[in-house]
């Protein structure tokens, strides 16, 4: 009797405890969409004058003239997308290659120092990257990389124009260095979780080391690697300080990667502090909203693309 009561009481305490815990976690999870929603509402409210004034033309106009009060965000979106794409183009092979080395090939005494260095890379503040960009990367691009590119691929419009050292390409390079740690750290972790049996099975079938990695490890870890790339992309799309220091800050759409460009986040950071007129301020907020939209669209597109690719044939299915 007494024992039963005690058990009942205990289980009811536990039930209450569980419920409180559940509610607490649910509230935390609800916080994220709430914050997102609140941000969206605040952005739309602050951008309203510009939305009413420019509407959709804001996204297709290339004029950014605070004096005349005419604003269009197209060159900034172009700069954001192209610099991020360049960053991924460089950092994805580099990052995944490093991750494969760390998880499959590296002797253990080498693994932890390299991982430590990679994590250190992620911890460097972006303004420091920017300074490194101005003092090291920009001169290197101007003096070494640009002549080399012009000498070999100079016939392409991608590499036309004077060698300034500053511009889209430099921004892409610096972004790639900044996002590579995300790809390496997450991908390595994911590949380490691939069961040993998976590798041994492939080897037992007579696969070489390369085949094992390509057909047994990477497919298994694919969703994690894709997640790592998304993280890197998100960081690249939003990065402000380091980019603005090396991209040249000219709102234009040029075929050449050597030409200066501009990104959405950079123009907001640059001009917000001194913007006084209402329309100007709201155009900058509208640009922020545009960046949010672009980020959402890019992420959705990437997810769709990945789910298509993931359905493709593979030697070993999970």
């Amino acid at each position: 009797m007494a024992v039963n009561d005690l058990a009942a009481a205990r289980s009811s305490v536990r039930a209450t405890g569980d419920r409180v815990f559940q509610l607490l976690l649910a509230a935390m999870a609800a916080g994220i969409p709430l914050i997102m929603g609140a941000m969206l509402v605040a952005l739309i409210a602050a951008a309203r004058p510009a939305i009413e004034r420019f509407g959709f033309t804001f996204f297709v106009s290339s004029t950014w003239d605070p004096v005349a009060g005419e604003f269009g965000v197209l060159p900034f979106i172009y700069g954001t997308l192209v610099s991020s794409a360049l960053a991924l183009l460089i950092s994805v092979p580099l990052g995944i290659g490093t991750a494969v080395f760390l998880s499959e090939l590296a002797p253990s005494w080498l693994r932890s120092p390299i991982r430590f260095l990679v994590e250190l890379l992620a911890a460097i503040p972006s303004v420091v990257y920017g300074l490194w960009g101005i003092f090291v990367l920009v001169p290197w691009v101007r003096v070494t990389l640009t002549p080399a590119l012009k000498g070999t691929l100079g016939f392409l419009p991608l590499f036309a124009g004077p060698p300034l050292g500053i511009g889209m390409l430099t921004a892409g390079i610096i972004l790639s260095v900044m996002v590579v740690p995300f790809i390496v750290a997450v991908s390595t972790e994911v590949m380490r979780t691939v069961p040993r049996m998976q590798r041994e099975a492939a080897l037992a079938l007579g696969a070489t080391g390369w085949e094992t990695t390509r057909k047994a490890v990477i497919p298994y870890a694919r969703s994690g690697i894709v997640g790592a790339i998304f993280l890197a992309l998100a960081r690249a799309l939003g990065e402000t300080m380091a980019v603005t220091m090396v991209i040249g800050n000219v709102p234009q759409i040029k075929a050449s990667l050597l030409a200066p460009a501009y990104t959405v986040s950079a123009v907001i950071a640059n001009e917000f502090a001194e913007a006084t007129e209402d329309l100007y301020v709201s155009a900058l907020v509208f640009a922020g909203l545009a960046l949010l939209l672009v980020t959402v669209i890019v992420n959705v597109l990437a997810r769709v693309l990945v789910s298509r690719v993931a359905r493709g044939p593979s030697l070993i299915r999970e």
Partner: protein, 348 residues
């Protein structure tokens, strides 16, 4: 043990209460705005706190932010390198006074191999370079001004500020005054739609680009150019003289512009009269309400500004700001005497 902790706690509490009471007695003035005069204002706030016991908190958040906060009345004074527009003053409610504190000059800096300090620039040439109409360093119009300089046949890489700034406002105001085409095509403001060139963030960004990139021409604050030993040029003034930018030629510019400076001081005094006046310079202002709403703070504020335009000026040159000329100080005194509390002048 517990007893001891109690005692310490009581003492701490007593100290806190006492300090709170003491703090309540000192007047604190809060201001926000331009970054350009920040070193000077923080020096002033230090000296003034020692001398008069008035605390001045100044946040250097940029002129635009300063104007916004001043309009929202979250600060006792604003600070800006550009005057408020009529619209903004109307929104702020009540009369707003612009009190000039010191002036700064904006200078053309360049990096051309084999060319040293003191290249001569004429106003129309500067405007056409920044419009992208003069594109070579050895352009005949530039070469004629500098017969001795060994100008290369290289493209001029123009560098401008990418962030909104008072420095840009002064520079483009000058270009608008000397070039009708600039005025029509680009106009003036803290950020403009640049016809050509690269953008660098902040004075340090422009300086970095100019230093790193051959054949560049940009504009930065004189103080920054001096402390960083940049190569900068002379600009031909209204009187036809090529003037080396300096603190004294900036002060002379204020003197030369005196007659054309309106009573509310809301003007960029670029391109002034005067033989030795350096033509690209501007004030930095403190913004206050003509009618103060707090008798204690109002009095402290006006007294501080009075001190700033007199005793405070001696700190300007060492920090590389151009002090106000005597002639102008008299004019500013009149404005400060017009500040009121409940309709009564605060300064007698």
């Amino acid at each position: 043990m517990i007893n001891g902790m109690w005692r310490v706690g009581c003492i701490l509490l007593a100290i806190a209460v006492f300090a709170g009471a003491a703090a309540a007695q000192t007047v604190t003035l809060n201001g926000a705005g331009a970054t350009f005069p920040f070193p000077l204002y923080s020096k002033w706030s230090q000296v003034y706190a020692d001398e008069r016991g008035v605390q001045i908190n100044y946040q250097s958040i940029g002129s635009g932010g300063g104007i916004r906060q001043f309009m929202a009345k979250t600060v006792d004074f604003g600070a800006s390198d550009g005057p408020m527009t009529d619209e903004q003053i109307a929104q702020a409610g009540g009369q707003v006074l612009h009190i000039p504190m010191v002036a700064g000059a904006v200078v053309p800096v360049y990096n051309v191999t084999g060319v040293g300090q003191g290249l001569n620039f004429a106003p129309d040439v500067l405007a056409d370079i920044f419009l992208g109409r003069i594109t070579k360093w050895n352009d005949p119009r530039l070469a004629r001004l500098n017969p001795r300089a060994n100008l290369p046949a290289a493209d001029i890489v123009v560098v401008h500020r990418s962030d909104g700034s008072g420095t840009t406002a002064i520079w483009v105001n000058y270009l608008s005054k000397v070039s009708p085409m600039w005025k029509a095509r680009v106009g003036e403001g803290t950020s403009v739609n640049w016809p050509t060139g690269l953008g660098g963030r902040g004075n340090e960004g422009v300086a970095g680009l100019v230093r790193q990139t051959p054949n560049t021409l940009g504009y930065i604050e004189l103080a920054y150019a001096l402390t960083n030993k940049m190569t900068f040029g002379n600009v031909r003034n209204k009187a036809g003289q090529f003037v080396r930018p300096s603190l004294s030629s900036t002060t002379k510019a204020m003197d030369g512009a005196l007659r054309s400076i309106p009573d509310d001081f809301r003007v960029f005094f670029t391109n002034p009269d005067g033989k030795d006046a350096y033509p690209v310079a501007g004030f930095t202002w403190i913004l206050i309400n003509a009618e103060q709403t707090d008798s204690v703070k109002g009095k402290a504020l006006v007294e501080f500004l009075w001190w700033a335009i007199h005793d405070g000026q001696k700190y300007a040159p060492t920090l590389l700001y151009a002090p106000l000329p005597k002639s102008l100080v008299t004019k500013v005194e009149r404005t400060l005497k017009s500040v009121t509390y409940r309709g009564q002048a605060i300064l007698q």
